[in-house]
Symmetry: C2
Subunit: 423 residues, 2 copies
């Protein structure tokens, strides 16, 4: 996402503290000391990597946010219980290809077997292990050769780069999603890194995907949990690929606690901002890699009477199949945007004050104003929409509330990918 | 829709009165005496018919139900006002190709010009005319040659068949939607007929489309209004093509009042049932003709704790892009159905009691039970889903509430149609 473009349409809600810019660094999760990572092929998928491990030899404080879907994967019940009972963990193991969801009592048993197997290999306790799964729902896990698979996984651990784990958690993703940044708090260098997967079943309600974040800043489980929840709301909960949520969505944040600073409000706000920044990077990479997507779309709403109206409208526009197909067709079809605004049924709306613009690096075009369409240059509009990074900017002209959410266009390839995913 | 198939999965909520079966008759709206109809090409579309007229030389009592979208077409404001002020009308004129939505003060003026022009041709009063529009949003109407166009329209009036009007209200529809039935109340023959259009921007919230119904039963405006609202809830509000609603959706019911019966509860219930029947016929034809659709899909939910849960789940499943693409791929992907159930966040849900089946004329297959997937014959499942008429039957196993809603599959052609609709 072009930051300058976003800035022209909407300002950052948490703009208060202004620390030094963060610096992108390499290595992914391994940019943080005492984080070892591995990713291998183990048979849950036909041939690609499908088993990932994040290992904290000296332990890490872990917090998590999980799907709000009323059907929840077996691993989520397990992880929630573990996170409720303790703060420190040594390993997170993630498999892709099989969601381990809706597998009856065997589903619960399998989570425990996975944790036990890994713990035995790493010579740690089973309750120091968190487990995650993603993939096809309702297929029992085949763990017949799991002992050997985990052996390979453990032997491949590296402190160099987390790219193999980032690859091993992918399902229909076409791109590896990994980032790491460094920034200063109180003169001390803090690191924050993330990997994520997600491409379909993506919708704003919790983060409908998997993401694993690691930092070295010591803030304690309770504060980390609050910060993660807030950052997820500003990132993963603002994206949509297809309006569908998954029973497996999980975001975990781990801290190796190496860096200690005074837990002042100012310092916490700086970390919150950086956490939101890296979550937004992952969230935006997920929609940019949306199933079949050719365009990254920001829906920026301002001038709303309140935050609920802004959010309702932005999400309705971002999930409208008609808006998303029009963007794919590079058609400045503002009428569909308008319909979606109306469909959101906001508490306050004055149709004569609505303005809808399409923006990209090629320029900006205003399509309607004063309750009617404007005559605009269709060639320029087509050119603007031919870019891969588009903003639909909506000004409701009533109040001061604003929001930006992110989505992608909807293409024939989305249909193709999902018409034969399970088979 | 195969009625037997629906009956096996869900019983009719209004099963109380059991009158003689209704008989399909020909002529569409013209099956009712004193209903003249016309449809012509007038230039709102490039070459197809785009202007329709339903004329009641002896007047008719008219009631209507309109979109709940917060953005409403200019014609809707006008019609609501007219219907609020009087009960009897002589003409309904509908154009397709231009929605006359969001056109500022000119939009309102144009509705009045259209009514005035038609009234003058038919030698009736302008306030005896109702106007409807459907098509592209935000393009001012070109009425420069409207006088001549309405002249042609009036000259083409026929009492023989309403098929030309049914054709003239189509937009992306591929099939004409028209039906007429006759049935007895108190020994008297009552007629009820309908035309409809709709293919995209179809979602359960009011009827997101246009439909015009005519009967000869005299029940008075107030009763007709109540009956229409109830029947729309049982039909047009139970369909979804793409989750998008339109600012132009309108259902009008007109009665020529030729047939009088005692307005007993029993007689009204009979008419209600027949009205729901014909509304469901139109609603089902709309989803069967959904943009790019290859399959008609019934989502039948039973065993819900209450009606709100049943409806929430049915609509979530029916609007899930992932479920709809799986059906297109003929993939018994019950995991996606399960995810959609969970996403609906019903008040009461016991995952271990959920059963999901796929049903067609080729057979029925149960895919999950007791909180886990069943091993099922994938070849038979594929064969069942290869039919064009599919039921996804969900038993929540908790209570007695049930509902059926209708949708279609989602295909590459939906994308193609909508990527270049406006251009």
């Amino acid at each position: 996402m072009s930051q300058s473009q976003l800035a022209t349409t909407i300002s950052n809600e948490n703009a208060e503290p202004h620390p030094l810019a963060s610096q992108a660094i390499s290595g992914g999760l391994c940019a943080i000391e005492n984080v070892w990572v591995s990713g291998v092929h183990s048979g849950f998928k036909h041939c690609n990597k499908d088993l990932a491990l994040i290992y904290f030899p000296k332990g890490a404080t872990v917090v998590g946010v999980f799907t709000k879907n009323a059907i929840q994967s077996h691993h989520i019940k397990y992880d929630k219980k573990r996170l409720n009972e303790q703060a420190t963990f040594k390993a997170i193991m993630i498999n892709s290809g099989n969601a381990n969801t809706f597998n009856g009592p065997k589903g619960d048993t399998d989570v425990q077997i996975m944790a036990n197997t890994l713990a035995s290999k790493l010579k740690i306790q089973p309750d120091e292990v968190l487990i995650c799964s993603t993939g096809v729902i309702g297929v029992p896990m085949d763990l017949s050769n799991f002992d050997n698979q985990v052996d390979t996984l453990a032997h491949n651990l590296t402190a160099g780069d987390s790219i193999q784990a980032a690859e091993a958690i992918m399902t229909t993703d076409t791109k590896i999603k990994q980032a790491a940044i460094a920034f200063e708090i109180e003169g001390q260098l803090v690191h924050l890194a993330a990997i994520a997967k997600g491409s379909g079943m993506i919708h704003p309600n919790m983060g409908t995907m998997l993401s694993y974040l690691v930092t070295d800043l010591d803030l304690g489980q309770e504060t980390l949990q609050q910060l993660l929840k807030a950052s997820v709301n500003q990132s993963f909960n603002k994206i949509s690929v297809d309006g569908d949520t998954s029973p497996n969505d999980t975001v975990l944040l781990a801290s190796t606690n190496k860096v200690s600073v005074k837990p002042t409000k100012q310092h916490i706000l700086i970390f919150q901002e950086k956490l939101t920044e890296i979550c937004q990077m992952m969230a935006q990479e997920i929609v940019a890699d949306g199933e079949g997507a050719t365009k990254f779309v920001t829906v920026a709403v301002k001038g709303a009477a309140d935050q609920a109206d802004a959010e309702g409208i932005a999400k309705q526009v971002a999930t409208s199949s008609l808006v998303k197909t029009a963007v794919y067709g590079q058609d400045a079809n503002w009428g569909r945007v308008l319909s979606a605004i109306g469909q959101a049924q906001p508490d306050y709306l004055d149709p004569t004050k609505i303005q809808i613009s399409f923006i990209s690096e090629k320029g900006e075009i205003l399509t309607c104003k004063n309750g009617q369409g404007l005559v605009f240059d269709e060639d320029l509009a087509y050119e603007i929409l031919s870019e891969t990074d588009i903003t639909i900017a909506i000004d409701l002209g009533i109040g001061k509330s604003q929001i930006a959410v992110w989505t992608c266009d909807m293409t024939e390839d989305y249909i193709k990918i999902n018409a034969d995913y399970r088979s």
